[in-house]
Subunit: 384 residues, 2 copies
C-alpha cells in the first residue's frame, strides 16, 4: 500500500512509543511483527502472505474442560500475488496500518471511523480501498484474530450500550466513579474497559444481576434492588456489546462476583445467555477473555407461566424462526448435555409461546423485583 | 372498564396523595378531571365521550412568531356508544387508569411495560384489551395530548439513549453528578429529566455542542473538546429521544446556553435539526416544552466537500428516498423562507451525494474537533 496518499503521512515520532501504556506497546509490537514477516518474505523474494485463522462454525469447538467456545487451528492463506486474494491481502495490511496509527496517536475510533480513515482512491487508479463499511468490518475481525488482540486493544470500539449501578467505585479515565451515586441513568459502560482505562477501586457487592433490557434495568434501579440485595445491576441493551461482556468478565474474575442473568424466555434470550457464558461462534477467539462459564440463567423460565400464574394475555406465539432457532440452540454442544436446558427449551416448544421479562408486570409492577427475583435467588433456582 | 380484574385492585391509599410531588399532583388532577367528565355525562344519561386532539399534518401549523410547530384546534370525538369507537374509547380510559396507578404508586415504566400492565382478557369475554403494543402506543400519545401532559409526567418513559459531559453539576434522583468527572462514558441522560428528578446545581459551560451519534461524541470527549471550549457535549444516539430533547430545552432556557448542532449532511440530519429546533409533526403538542427555535446548525454543510477538500471516497450517493425527503424538508414552512437552508438543500441535491460527520476523519482523526468545529464557531459560520 506504499502507493497510497495516506501511507505517506509521517507516523507519530518514535519518541512517543516510549510513553505508550504497556497494553498498547504489546499490541503495537504484534502489528510490527506482522509487517516485518511480510517485509522479510518480500526481501527473500518469496510471495508475501498472511495466515488468517478461519472464522466459521467449521473451525469452532467447545472446550469441555474450560467450558468455552474456542477457535480451531484452521487458517486461510491470503496472498498478495493471487488475483482473488490481493485485495483482501492489501486491505488487511491497510487496517493494520490504521490501527498502528491510532495506537501511535493514542486515539480511538469506531469501526465506521476506521473505515473513513482508510477509505480512499488508490493513486493512479480508480480503485477504492474499500467500497463499503461491510467490506472493512470483517477485515478488522480478521486482524483481531490474527494478532490475538481484542478490537479494543486495536483502539477500535463498537457501540457503548449498557449501564451499571451498585456499590462499586471505579476509576474510569482518571475520574473516580461511585456507581451507587449516578442518578437515574446509572454508569454508562464504555466500549473499552481494559485495565488501563477502567480500574476497580472498591466493591461491596456480593453478586451481579445482569438483565437484558434497559427498561427492565430501570425497574430494578427504581426499586433500589441493588441496595436491598447488595449487588451490581447491569444491562446490555439486548445482546450485550463487547464492552459490557468484558466488564462482566472482569468483575466476575477479578472481584469474584457470581453473575445471574435475567433474560427473556425466548430463543434470543437463550442465545444472549449462551454468548455470555460460552462465547459466540463468530467471535470465538474472544471467548477466553469474555466468556463466563459460571454465569447462571435465573429466568424467565418456560415453566414460569404456570408457576407464576401468568394470564393468557402475555403469551407471544412462537413463529417458525423461533422454533428453528430453539432447536438449533438445544443442539449446541454446550446445551446438548444439560438436562435442565433440554427440558427448558422443550417446554417452551410445547407451550408454543414465549415470554418477556416485562410480562411479569402483569402481576404487579414490582413483582419482578420484589417477588420473582428474590425467590429465585433464595431458592438457588436457576439453570446452569 | 369496571368489569376488568385489574380495576378491582385497590388504589394506593389516599394519604399517599398528600405526599405527591407537585408535578404529579397536577397530572393526577388532570386524569381525575377526565374521569369525572366521563362520569358526569353518564350520570346525566348523556353519551360518554372524549375529545382527542387530532395528531396529523392537517392539524399542525407553524407559529411564525414563536417559531415552533403547534397543534391546531381540531379534535376527534371518541364515543363509548359507537361501535367503531368503543374499543379505543375504553383503551383511552384504561391507559389513563394505568398512568394514575403509576403516579399513585410513584413508579414509572416503559411503553412496553404499560402495555403489559394493561393487557388482559376482559372478564366474561374473549376480548383482549390490546392485541399488540402497536395498539397501545398511539393511545398513550392521545392521552398525552388530551391532558396536555408529557409522557414523562404520566410516568411512562421511552428509551434513554443519549449522553452528556462537561462542566455542569446536577442533582439526579438525589445523587450529585459532576458531568466533568464521569469517565469515558459520560452522564447517561435519563428519559425523565423533569425538575423533580433532575436539578441543575452549578454550570460553568458557555454553550452546548450537540452531536448526532455517540461515536462522534466519543471523539470530542476523547479530545477533551468540552474542556478546551468550556461547553457541554451531548449526543442523542441519532434522532434524540424525548429525554435528551427535554434536557437540551431545560439547559437552553434555564441556563441560557446556546445550542449548536453537528449533524450529518443528509435529509436525516436536517430532520433531526428540524425536530430539535421547531418540534416534530407527530408530537406537535410537545413543541412548547421541547423545541429550541434558537438552535443552530453548525454542519456538516453541503459546501464542506469543496471547502474542506474532502476526497471523493467519502461521498455517499443520494438515493430516491433521500431526494424525495430533501425536497419535502425544503418545503417545510420553517425552512421555506430561509435562503441559507434553501441553498444548503439545493447544493446537496446538486452534489448528488451526502456526507457523514465521520467523513471528516479522512482528513485527520481529530480534524473535526481541532479544526472544523473551532473554525465554524469562531467565524459564527452556521445555519439558523
Amino acid at each position: 500500500m506504499a502507493t497510497t496518499k495516506r501511507a505517506k503521512k509521517p507516523a507519530a515520532p518514535a519518541t512517543a512509543k516510549a510513553k505508550l501504556p504497556p497494553v498498547d506497546a504489546k499490541t503495537l509490537g504484534l502489528i510490527v511483527d506482522l509487517a516485518n514477516r511480510v517485509a522479510a518474505a518480500a526481501e527473500k523474494r518469496r510471495d508475501p502472505h498472511l495466515d488468517i485463522p478461519t472464522r466459521s462454525l467449521s473451525n469452532v469447538r467447545f472446550n469441555k474442560s474450560r467450558k468455552i467456545i474456542e477457535m480451531g487451528p484452521q487458517t486461510n492463506c491470503r496472498q498478495l500475488f493471487n488475483l482473488s486474494q490481493a485485495k483482501s491481502y492489501m486491505q488487511t495490511l491497510l487496517v493494520a496500518t490504521g490501527c498502528k496509527a491510532l495506537i501511535d496517536q493514542q486515539k480511538t475510533t469506531s469501526i465506521r471511523g476506521l473505515y473513513y480513515l482508510l477509505k480512499h482512491t488508490i493513486e493512479g487508479t480508480r480503485e477504492e480501498t474499500f467500497a463499503t463499511q461491510e467490506e472493512c468490518d470483517p477485515i478488522i475481525e480478521d486482524l483481531e484474530v490474527s494478532l490475538q488482540s481484542l478490537r479494543e486493544e486495536l483502539h477500535v470500539y463498537a457501540s457503548n450500550r449498557g449501564g451499571m449501578v451498585g456499590p462499586i467505585t471505579l476509576i474510569d479515565s482518571g475520574d473516580e466513579i461511585d456507581c451507587s451515586r449516578m442518578g437515574s441513568g446509572g454508569y454508562s459502560i464504555p466500549s473499552i474497559v481494559e485495565a488501563d482505562i477502567v480500574r476497580f477501586k472498591q466493591c461491596d457487592a456480593k453478586f451481579i444481576l445482569h438483565v437484558e433490557k434497559d427498561t427492565v434495568w430501570r425497574r430494578f434501579n427504581e426499586d433500589k434492588f441493588w441496595r436491598k440485595h447488595n449487588c451490581l445491576l447491569t444491562h446490555g441493551g439486548g445482546q450485550p456489546p463487547r464492552g459490557v461482556r468484558r466488564m462482566l468478565y472482569r468483575l466476575h474474575h477479578e472481584l469474584k462476583l457470581p453473575v445471574y442473568c435475567l433474560l427473556d424466555n425466548d430463543p434470543w434470550g437463550y442465545y444472549i445467555y449462551s454468548v455470555l457464558k460460552q462465547g459466540s461462534i463468530n467471535l470465538a477467539y474472544e471467548s477466553k477473555r469474555m466468556a463466563i462459564p459460571e454465569a447462571r440463567f435465573l429466568g424467565i423460565r418456560s415453566r414460569d407461566y404456570d408457576r407464576c400464574k401468568l394470564s393468557q394475555s402475555v403469551q407471544i406465539a412462537l413463529n417458525d424462526t423461533d422454533i428453528k432457532r430453539a432447536k438449533q440452540i438445544a443442539a449446541y454442544p454446550w446445551f446438548a448435555g444439560k438436562k435442565g436446558w433440554q427440558k427448558e427449551i422443550e417446554t417452551m416448544l410445547k407451550n408454543g409461546f414465549k415470554l418477556e421479562v416485562e410480562s411479569l408486570i402483569s402481576k404487579d409492577i414490582s413483582y419482578v423485583t420484589e417477588t420473582y427475583t428474590p425467590e429465585r435467588l433464595a431458592d438457588a433456582d436457576w439453570l446452569d
